[in-house]
């Protein structure tokens, strides 16, 4: 298969791009292992994303779209490509950059500088929302209080709300994030490993939260992480590439390692995982969480209080374990049967180490 074609190419020396047959091939495309030139790579990369946007009807003309911007490679390439496609194909969109400042010194303040540069480079207005303003706590302060266990839980829950709040302030119609194929494949695997059937049924959707405050979409759903890196590299895009300093123990690391190894054996496996996730049919007898609103802040929630409020209450009262763990905390005053394994429990507690989808 691809291996023999590779071997032949190496022996042949200079090889022509297999798409345009004119220029010299300078890279091997991670998704398909085709050997192509830079210009063809830009073209297929951008065109595939355009097709995803069109086929899934992600945007409508005249919409205001916030782009989740962390300063990392995914969000930088997202901003770059969407601006470009918006121009080229006349999507008619108003694009904004939305960034979240979690208050992590040495990490977030550096990446925010990158986003500020992106604002100038791409000409997209930027809004920054901070945990300090929204919740009164920075991640540094939170970690000082609760340590390095469960900190990803806090950050993930807070970030989701922060993005929604920022999007509301910008008065946008949708939020687009840079989640790529690798992220989604990892999430499918994680949800299988952890038995989270509720999330498993939702995590492959390209658009989520249509019945919530702000719908979110993932234009990079079928785009490989390696190709995003390659694109950023060849285009010399400005991005910040460091791991969050508080995240070395995230469980997602297992899935990530596995997928890296998998990609080496069979690149298309990443898309196959997503395809499997899309094809899973969940038994309707499985109880799923019901959607309501938080009594304290009005945010979307399947419990009396939303998770962010529960966690905040814990922080403010000096009870770092509030909302972490089972059957403790405000949502269980009415003596729920602890043996029930229905989905309501799963929403409340399966937050570890991942961005909430």
């Amino acid at each position: 298969m691809e291996e023999s074609a590779d071997g032949k190419a190496k022996k042949a020396g200079a090889r022509l791009c297999c798409l345009c047959h004119q220029k010299k091939a300078v890279l091997k495309r991670p998704k398909t292992l085709e050997q192509i030139c830079r210009e063809c790579f830009y073209e297929v990369f951008e065109e595939e994303i355009h097709q995803v946007i069109v086929e899934n009807q992600l945007f409508k003309p005249g919409e205001r779209i916030a782009l989740g911007a962390s300063g990392g490679k995914d969000s930088t390439v997202l901003a770059y490509v969407l601006s470009e496609l918006n121009r080229r194909h006349n999507y008619g969109l108003d694009l904004f950059l939305l960034s979240v400042d979690e208050g992590i010194t040495g990490y977030r303040d550096d990446s925010l500088e990158t986003v500020k540069r992106n604002e100038i480079q791409y000409g997209l207005p930027l809004k920054i929302v901070s945990y300090k303003d929204l919740y009164g706590w920075t991640m540094d302060e939170i970690v000082k209080m609760i340590g390095l266990k469960n900190n990803c839980t806090f950050c993930g829950v807070f970030r989701r709300q922060a993005l929604d709040r920022g999007a509301a302030l910008l008065k946008v119609d949708k939020l687009a994030t840079g989640h790529n194929a690798d992220d989604i494949a990892e999430t499918v695997l994680l949800n299988i490993l952890r038995g989270d059937i509720a999330r498993l049924s939702r995590c492959t959707s390209i658009v989520t939260g249509e019945d919530g405050p702000i719908p979110r979409c993932k234009p990079f759903k079928y785009t490989y992480e390696k190709e995003i890196v390659m694109y950023a590299y060849f285009k010399r895009l400005d991005y910040f590439s460091t791991e969050c300093i508080y995240s070395p123990n995230a469980y997602r690391g297992f899935a990530r390692e596995f997928i890296k190894d998998l990609e080496r054996i069979r690149p298309r496996a990443i898309l196959d995982i997503i395809k499997s996730g899309e094809n899973f049919r969940i038994s309707t007898s499985t109880k799923m969480p019901e959607q309501g609103t938080c009594e304290r802040c009005g945010y979307i929630s399947s419990q009396k209080w939303c998770k962010a409020c529960v966690l905040l209450e814990g922080l403010n009262r000096g009870l770092p374990k509030l909302g972490i763990g089972r059957t403790r905390g405000l949502n269980n005053d009415d003596k729920k049967d602890t043996k029930k394994t229905n989905g309501t429990k799963s929403i409340e507690s399966k937050q570890c180490g991942t961005l909430d989808f």
Partner: protein
């Protein structure tokens, strides 16, 4: 790399007590430690079995994990209990059935064989004791698939292996069980030339290592189906355990087989000519291996090349996860258990009044509800997995020279060659039985469809076949 949260409900990190409490919710899929109440922590120092509190535990320190704190009898009893529950609640073995046990030599199928034998000998004793002989004893046969031709094993080693297998089966009497040594090349009919040569050519024609391994698995099932069918068996019993199923869940996901996955992970799989049953579905490989060791159940080591490619990668991944959290395999299987099974994932309800009313009643109670009111599945002719709509729509099968040979996208990618001319060549190397089965299934499907619309058909001769 462990999850840092004791928060996480998903079992990735828990204290022992939380684990035991949590796992009480589950119905029998976790290891024995699950079934103990939290009050037993007091007994951990007293050196007695945690369940019966009478006998010595298997090991007094934490060597063997949770299971080792029970005595051999309770440990064995628990495993046998899971086996019996699976058999009874899924009506796997009725008194009039003939069960063929697939024995690979490994610990899981060895335990399956042992447990079936225990049921078998008990049924025989009851039959002998009963004056009117009203309850027949089910028949048991054992099949061993000999794949030595694939791995080029020297014949003296193969003979030794077969000899060991024979000895094991002979010692499982009375009642005696017929043993079938099934060479893998028997999937080819005997009149089509040398099966070994054809098989080797076939495997060489598959360039993807994972595809090769999977094709061999499909051929193994084909061989078992053939020997069961030809010798009058109506059940094929496999020793597949939680660990194997967990690996299959992940590898099927990774190969894009998410639609057909639920078909492979249930207690019963009746899409085959001879329905396949998995009574050890709730037991962990670790438990089964421990039982073999404790009870001196002899296993046979097969000489096989290690799994490379995706299957090997998934297997090491699951091992790694299991080390990090001993409940992981069960959780993976439980997740897959929440997917909707297919209509063929249960034994057909028996209307035959010869079958005990108790069996029929039990079957009705436990049969899984699936959404299919009408069996509209097409199956891949190689791996027999049900085809999703997208698979059917994207197929290039219609141009293939055998009209019934529709194929899933996974087999299309990893087994069939990329260029169309080589595909035809590969078709000639595949066993005829695969095409015959596909044709048979499609005819069934077609006639079932026709029945549905029969009253609206006007002309007699719109026969297009």
């Amino acid at each position: 790399m462990a999850c840092s949260a004791s928060a996480c409900q998903s079992n990735c990190y828990k204290t022992q007590q939380e684990e035991e409490e949590d796992v009480k919710d589950n119905n029998n899929t976790n290891s024995f430690a699950a079934n103990i109440s939290s009050s037993n922590n007091n007994n951990s120092n007293s050196g007695l079995c945690l369940k019966c509190k009478a006998n010595k535990p298997i090991s007094s320190n934490s060597d063997g994990g949770d299971d080792a704190r029970f005595c051999i009898d309770c440990f064995r009893g628990n495993l046998f209990g899971k086996f019996r529950f699976a058999v009874n609640s899924n009506a796997m073995i009725a008194p009039t059935d003939n069960v063929l046990v697939a024995f690979s030599g490994g610990p899981s199928s060895r335990v399956a064989l042992q447990f079936v034998h225990e049921m078998h000998s008990k049924a025989q004793k009851n039959f002998d004791a009963c004056r009117d002989r009203s309850l027949p004893v089910f028949g048991v046969g054992v099949a061993f698939v000999d794949e030595s031709s694939v791995y080029s094993v020297p014949s003296n080693e193969t003979d030794k292996v077969i000899g060991d297998v024979r000895l094991i089966v002979e010692n499982l009497a009375p009642p005696s069980k017929e043993l079938y040594i099934v060479p893998i090349e028997s999937v080819y009919s005997s009149d089509s030339g040398d099966g070994r040569v054809r098989l080797k050519k076939l495997l060489d024609a598959v360039s993807d290592a994972t595809g090769r391994e999977d094709l061999l698995l499909h051929l193994r099932m084909l061989a078992l189906q053939k020997v069961a069918s030809q010798n009058g068996y109506n059940r094929l019993l496999l020793g597949s355990c939680v660990s194997r199923i967990a690996c299959h869940v992940l590898s099927a996901t990774v190969k894009g087989q998410g639609y057909s996955l639920p078909a492979d992970v249930q207690y019963v799989d009746a899409r085959w000519e001879i329905p396949v049953v998995l009574p050890l579905r709730d037991c962990l490989a670790k438990e089964l291996t421990m039982l073999c060791r404790l009870d001196g159940l002899k296993t046979v080591e097969l000489i096989r090349s290690p799994c490379t490619g995706i299957n090997g990668l998934v297997s090491s991944f699951v091992t790694l996860l299991q080390e990090e959290n001993p409940s992981r395999e069960c959780t993976i299987m439980r997740t897959a258990g929440k997917l909707i099974p297919f209509h063929f994932n249960k034994i057909e309800e028996i209307d035959d009044s010869n079958v005990l009313l108790a069996t029929r009643r039990r079957q009705k109670r436990y049969n899984l509800k699936s959404n299919e009111s009408f069996s509209s599945e097409s199956f891949c002719f190689i791996c027999n997995s049900p085809l999703s709509r997208s698979d059917l729509l994207s197929l290039k099968n219609l141009e293939s020279h055998k009209t019934s040979s529709v194929c899933c996208s996974s087999c299309q990618f990893q087994i069939l060659p990329q260029d169309p001319s080589s595909v035809n060549e590969l078709y000639t190397l595949l066993p005829e039985q695969l095409f015959a089965r596909a044709k048979h299934d499609n005819l069934d499907h077609y006639s079932a469809l026709r029945e549905q619309i029969q009253d609206c058909l006007l002309s007699e001769g719109e026969d297009e076949t």
